[in-house]
Amino acid sequence: MTGGALRSGASVRLLPTHGAKAVEMMMKARVDNISKSEQKRNMPEATAFLPELRERVRRIERPTATARGVLPFGLAGIDRALPDGGLAQGALHEILGAGGDEEDGALAAAFAAGILGRLTVSGDGMVLWCLPRPDLYGPGLAAHGLDPGRVVLVSTPRDTEILWAMEEGLRAPGIVAVVGEVGTLTATASRRLQLAAERSGITAFLLRRWRDGGQAARERALPNAAVTRWRITTMHSIPLRSEPGVGRLRWRVELLRCRSGEPACWEMEVPDATDHVSLAAALADRPAAPLSSEKFRRTG
């Protein structure tokens, strides 16, 4: 674009790869130059268009984040923390488990299934789910609101092939979302996925699944191009009032990183097929101690 509207003769080319800060610095530098070269004649004018400039920059940057629309969680608490009030569609999201679950990826899969259930509920289109081991269980997906009939699975042991399959999925018509369970991920690979998602408007989810603690330690902190990074940690279930056994399941959901948003942390009841996601009921009327002294509930 050209900045002809700003000042005659002052043209600024914005590189799409630059973040807002870089662009703003370029603009500032130019403004400084102009003011110096014109002996501060235009100083008031120059400062006046700075807010306008910021707005323009924000608009230029926005397409990369939420141009394809957002999927609200329907929970004010979470939606507030996300730019434009929801999970960006046509973007790459990363979901991590915690502790021993980093190996099995059950929590990440369940969290993704809940989101995908909401994503696929309207309209048709399939979900492509690429995984290293065929251990995803349909009834479990259904319990989190994702109809297993809407999922095409690709099982291949190598990370590179999973990434390749994801990228293919992100270019294909008839796909609404792509999920990949990936161990090793380079910044370049994640960047490719993010660009492919942006281009096609298909939402992509990276579920991180690590073979062992060593790989987890290496990979956990590496930066990548995902728009958000979530970590799901399991919490002790809340015992039900009158019954022993495993009670209401809860997660701690952490938004570790979010482009143009703030990191945050919630406690959440594990969503199910009917109400996909619900925050823990403010944890207000939680009983102080289980009312029943028995530890196990018998069902059989």
């Binding site: 021993g100 899969a109 065929p134 269980y137 009834p139 008839g174 279930s237 209401r248 399941l249 059989g300």
Partner: protein, 477 residues
């Protein structure tokens, strides 16, 4: 004659160790290469290749022309050989090996088998050496000597083989050739005057072959499900691209794109002289406007094959791409089945495979919350299911209790709360011992001190001859 004796007679004798495995491989390659002439080819013993040319000789301008072409090509590969064309496999085998030396190709006119085989030694009937020796011992030296013998006497004295081989050679008994690969249903061939090696040329040839095949398929109203593009190299090797498609297809652009992706796996070496495109599985595909998106595709014959048809039809190009790189079995769908046995409640159905129309998936949204314990009408199921279940070392107090501690993958888990048991036994209508469940299982959903939730089960009872064993079958969210 032992090697030492032979060397003493002729010290300059060149020797080489026999390598049966490599020779067999080379013979197999030659048989594969012979696919050029006919789809029905197979290696024959350790020193021959059989080619069934019925119905394909005219494509080469007759049997003589075919034989001449074969001789030239074998010459170029420095393979000394003898070619025989006859009415039966047995006769061709005999003539190729036992006819008097002369020209390198012998073509036996139809109906002359009996006369031609008569003067050949009995070994020409593909008999093992002991049988042949036995025949010789009683004075039956020529095949012709056997013609007059009563069959039952032959069978009594020398076993069924002699009579059977004789009948096969004389065309009284059919002898089908089992080809190396599966025989294709449609085949188109393209030969080049000069060998080609440039990828762009190969692509162009592939396009022409595809167009040829597609024209035929369109005329018949069918689409291909499995395709082979075979490249015959100058040096007698064969390169192959094998493709499968999720639904019958005769869209040339789609097929060519699939070939193009795999073309770099083909090594043309010094050049390719022939290419054959063969369709192995074709299925009805009525005429339709290809390439236009159908908002609601009309129901058609092939619909049942692709799962919930409408949904996968849009993604079938993607499935083809994934399947052709990773193997078609790697791409699958989950389909619920009515079974209470966890691993049977779900089957992995290859997206590309044949597929009866599935029942509508109703598990998606049914019933109230299944989790959380209170008022659940259905037991909850894990999101990851391990197959096979992973054994754990468990510690428990009472025979019916869930464990209070278990060790899984070398880590200790302290159970803080548990639900259960849910008893699952084998399906009684299955025959004994056929099921996945060989013992009665009691499932528990347990939560450990970290808050992780597992699906444990105990196989067997207390008091049985075998102590109960514990397994982790899945992980809950």
């Amino acid at each position: 004659m032992p090697l030492a004796d032979a060397l003493s007679f002729l010290p300059s004798l060149a020797t080489a160790a026999a390598e049966p495995a490599e020779e067999a491989a080379a013979l197999r390659r030659l048989a594969e290469w012979s696919g050029l002439y006919s789809p029905w080819t197979a290696p024959d013993g350790t020193d021959g290749v059989r080619i069934e040319i019925t119905g394909s000789a005219h494509l080469w301008g007759g049997e003589a022309a075919l034989a001449a072409d074969l001789v030239t090509r074998l010459d170029r590969q420095c393979i000394a050989g003898r070619i025989a064309i006859a009415d039966t496999l047995g006769a061709a085998w005999a003539i190729a090996r036992f006819a008097e030396a002369g020209e390198s190709a012998v073509i036996l006119p139809p109906g002359e088998v009996r006369a031609a085989l008569g003067p050949l030694p009995v070994e020409a009937l593909r008999l093992d050496p002991t049988t042949a020796q036995g025949l010789r011992r009683v004075g039956l030296k020529r095949v012709g000597d056997l013609y007059a013998m009563p069959r039952d006497a032959l069978a009594r004295r020398f076993g069924e083989t002699v009579a059977e081989r004789l009948d096969q050679a004389l065309d009284n008994l059919p002898e089908p050739l089992s080809p190396l690969g599966e025989a294709p249903t449609r085949r188109v061939r393209l030969s080049f005057a000069e060998p080609i090696a440039d990828p762009a040329d190969l692509m162009l040839a592939a396009e022409r072959l595809t167009a040829d095949l597609v024209r035929r398929l369109a005329r018949e109203g069918t689409g291909a499900r499995r395709l082979d593009l075979t490249f015959y190299r100058v040096d007698g090797r064969v390169e192959r691209i094998r493709l499968g498609t999720a639904r019958p297809s005769r869209d040339p652009r789609h097929l060519v794109a699939l070939f193009k992706e795999r073309l770099d796996t083909v090594d043309p070496d010094l050049g390719i002289e022939d290419m054959i495109l063969a369709a192995f599985v074709v299925e009805p595909l009525p005429a339709e406007q290809l390439g236009l998106p159908h908002p609601n595709p009309p129901p058609r014959a092939g619909e049942g094959r692709v799962g919930a048809g409408k949904e996968t039809s849009g993604v079938s190009p993607l499935i083809d791409r994934l399947g052709n790189k990773l193997g078609l079995a790697a791409v699958y769908r989950l389909e619920p089945r009515e079974s209470h046995i966890p691993e049977r409640a779900l089957v992995r159905v290859p997206v590309a495979g044949p597929h009866p129309s599935p029942p509508p998936c109703s598990r998606g949204r049914e019933g109230p919350a299944k989790r959380g314990g209170g008022g659940s009408d259905k037991p909850s199921r894990p999101i990851r299911l391990f197959e096979p279940p992973e054994p754990v070392e468990a510690f428990w107090l009472l025979p019916d209790d869930p464990p209070f501690r278990f060790i899984w993958r070398r880590r200790r888990h302290q159970v803080t709360s548990a639900d259960g048991p849910e008893r699952i036994a084998d399906e009684w209508w299955q025959p004994e011992g056929s099921g996945a469940v060989d013992e009665i299982r009691d499932y528990y959903r347990v939560e450990d001190e970290e808050g992780r939730r597992f699906w444990l089960f105990r196989a067997g009872f207390h008091g049985w001859d075998r102590p109960p064993r514990w397994f982790v079958h899945g992980v809950f969210s």
